[in-house]
Structures are given as structure tokens and as C-alpha cells.
């Protein structure tokens, strides 16, 4: 199998993404569970880059798409939409948890103040 320039470029990009993700995990800039998603993405790009002829054939034969790049674009687009939906889901959960925590802080602070002032009263008696 000969490697042309384009393939090389894509392979390098995929590997860069892969190692960037690993580095971010190492520096705790990315949680492990999200890193998995991005490692899969970089792996997917790598496979697509190396198996381009196979991919071209599958797309052409099975889906009847005559211009393979458009298939790639739509696959990437769908992938991004799924990731964004997932991110909005995560934000929803986070803001709910954040709300509950903030409410609890307010309630506890109030309780603490009441306790303190009742302690002061007993001290002064």
C-alpha cells in the first residue's frame, strides 16, 4: 500500500489529536470518561485515513454515493451533532446539580446563623 501526501497528513492529524487527548488526561484537563470519546474519534479518523480505498468502495457500492468526501462530511457532521447533544445533556445535569448545591448552601448558612445566635443567647445567660 502506497501512502500519498493527503493520507499522511490525515494520519498525522489523527495521531496529534490522539496524543493531545492523552496529554490532557495526564494534566487532568480532561476527565477520563470524556477522553474515551475523543480517543475513539481520533481512532476513527485514523482508520478512515488508512483504509480510504476500502471506504471508497463501501460508500460507492453500498450507499450509492458517487462522491466519497460528501459521505465523510455527513458522517462527521452527524458525529458532531451527537457529541453536542451529549454535551448539552451533561450541561443540563451539571446545572441541576449546581442548583441543588447552591440551594443547600443558602439553607445551611441560614441554619448556621440561627445556631450561632442561639448559642450566643445561651452564653449570655
Amino acid at each position: 500500500m502506497t501512502i500519498d501526501r493527503l493520507t499522511l497528513l490525515v494520519v498525522i492529524t489523527a495521531l496529534a489529536l490522539f496524543f493531545l487527548v492523552l496529554e490532557m488526561v495526564r494534566r487532568r484537563a480532561l476527565a477520563e470518561r470524556y477522553s474515551l470519546l475523543w480517543l475513539l474519534v481520533s481512532g476513527g479518523v485514523l482508520v478512515l485515513a488508512l483504509g480510504r480505498t476500502v471506504l471508497d468502495n463501501i460508500i460507492f457500492m453500498q450507499l450509492g454515493i458517487t462522491y466519497p468526501p460528501s459521505a465523510l462530511f455527513s458522517a462527521g457532521f452527524v458525529g458532531l451533532i451527537v457529541i453536542m447533544l451529549y454535551m448539552t445533556h451533561v450541561i443540563t445535569l451539571l446545572s441541576r446539580q449546581n442548583r441543588t448545591a447552591a440551594q443547600r448552601i443558602g439553607l445551611l448558612e441560614h441554619q448556621l446563623e440561627e445556631l450561632k445566635s442561639s448559642l450566643d443567647v445561651t452564653k449570655n445567660e
Binding site: 442548583r99 439553607l107 448558612e109 441560614h110
Partner: protein, 245 residues
């Protein structure tokens, strides 16, 4: 001066006042509540105010829960429901911090809860014409919204955005658990519908606000209405709250 309302002896009432920068009006609102229902406990939820709201409320003798930052009216109200639930209150009334609601009318709301004829009693500006003036575009918006909510809940509502509401222990339990945060007043009506909560609307008189700004400017009314209606329509597909089927 109207007579103060006396609760049945074994019942405890919490009056929750959500407040965002209401230092101008709070003293008066809290004073009026204390005069109208002397037995009630008053709780101000200070929703991340940048003025002296908390100090003013404390000075007026209210309990104050200060949220660490602005969470919005829905989450602020839910904080009140949680407080009411955890401190074993039987009833909770929501009174706006801007002075629009008349604390003397709390006595109109509570008897339906005491008699167990309803779980939520809502004070409506529009059942009877009592001289409350609403700008025409907003009035139109509220009518459309009321029709829409009435259609979806198969129950007649005239004032779905009214925040002047009294809740029973059952509703306190529900709302401390689940309470809408985006457009809480109309959305809560959908929640009540799903949870088979008995809701009653009664006519009340509302005042023009004492100070501060309405959170809904006329300019935003139309946009607000579309968003609320979409949010409410989406809620019809939501699961029933499990404990209340």
C-alpha cells in the same frame, strides 16, 4: 385596618418572599405580611441580590436564606419549598417582593387549604375586574397563554403567570422535589396537572409594584410568550412525577 388572619391552632404557615434587589420595597412587604398573618413565619429568599436586600429583610424581622449567586425565580421558590418541607410547615404562600401582591388577601387563599378543598390556591388578577391595569400587549399575551394552558390541562385558568399562590403540604413535598426553573408559574400548572393536584383560582386585587423593575418588559413579552408556550407544550410529554401518580 383589616383584621389579621388567624390560622387554625395546629397549622403552621410559611410566607416565602423571593427577592432580587428589592431593598426599596421589602420593609413594607414584610411589615404588611406580619400585620396580615401575625402567626406566619416569613422567609425571604435573597436570590443573589447586589443591594442590601438581605440586611433590610433581617432588620424587618424575616428569616433570610441568601443564595450564593442568582439562580432565577424557579430555583429560589424551590428553596422556599425545601425549607417549608424540612421545617414541617403545613402551608406555604408565595408573595412577591415588589409589593404587587396584597398580604391581606392571604386570608382569602388559606381557607381552601384548611378545608382541604384544594391543594394549590392561586390569586388571579383577571377573574373579576378590580382595577388592575395591564398594558394591552401583555394582557393579550396572558390571555393567549391562559387559553393555551387551559387547553392542555383541560381546566380553566385566567392568570397562569400569577405568583400569588398558596400550597398545601402535599404540594410542598412535590415542589421541594421537582419544580420548574425556566418559566416556573405557568410550567408549575402543567406539573400540578400531571401530578393530579387540585388547583383553585380565586379573584384578588394586585397593586402596582412599589419599586424596582418588572422582570418582563413589554418589549420581551411576545418573545417570552412564545418560549413559555413551547416549554409548556414540551412538558406534556414529560413523565408523571412518580410519587404522585
Amino acid at each position: 385596618m383589616p383584621q389579621p388572619y388567624l390560622l387554625p391552632e395546629d397549622k403552621r404557615l410559611l410566607v416565602v418572599i423571593p427577592a432580587l434587589n428589592e431593598e426599596e420595597s421589602l420593609t413594607r412587604v414584610i411589615g404588611n405580611v406580619n400585620a396580615a398573618v401575625p402567626q406566619a413565619t416569613v422567609l425571604v429568599i435573597n436570590d443573589g441580590s447586589t443591594d442590601k436586600t438581605a440586611a433590610v429583610a433581617k432588620a424587618a424581622g424575616a428569616n433570610v436564606v441568601t443564595l450564593p449567586y442568582n439562580l432565577g425565580i424557579g430555583a429560589a421558590m424551590q428553596t422556599g419549598f425545601i425549607y417549608a418541607y424540612e421545617n414541617n410547615f403545613d402551608f406555604m404562600v408565595q408573595v412577591d417582593g415588589d409589593g404587587q401582591h396584597n398580604p391581606n388577601e392571604i386570608k382569602e387563599l388559606i381557607p381552601f387549604l384548611v378545608a382541604d378543598q384544594a391543594d394549590v390556591v392561586i390569586g388571579s388578577r383577571y377573574i373579576e375586574d378590580r382595577g388592575y391595569i395591564t398594558p394591552a400587549p401583555r394582557r393579550m399575551g396572558i390571555i393567549i397563554l391562559a387559553q393555551f394552558v387551559s387547553l392542555l390541562t383541560r381546566k380553566k385558568y385566567t392568570d397562569p403567570t400569577s405568583g400569588f399562590r398558596a400550597s398545601s403540604r402535599k404540594v410542598i413535598a412535590l415542589c421541594s422535589n421537582i419544580y420548574p426553573s425556566d418559566y416556573p408559574e405557568p410550567e408549575a400548572l402543567m406539573l400540578f396537572h400531571k401530578a393530579n393536584i387540585r388547583v383553585k383560582e380565586i379573584p384578588v386585587t394586585m397593586n402596582p409594584r412599589y419599586g424596582g423593575q418588572s422582570s418582563i418588559t413589554p418589549l420581551r413579552s411576545a418573545y417570552y410568550m412564545v418560549k413559555v408556550m413551547l416549554a409548556i407544550a414540551i412538558l406534556t410529554i414529560r413523565k408523571r412525577p412518580e410519587a404522585f401518580v
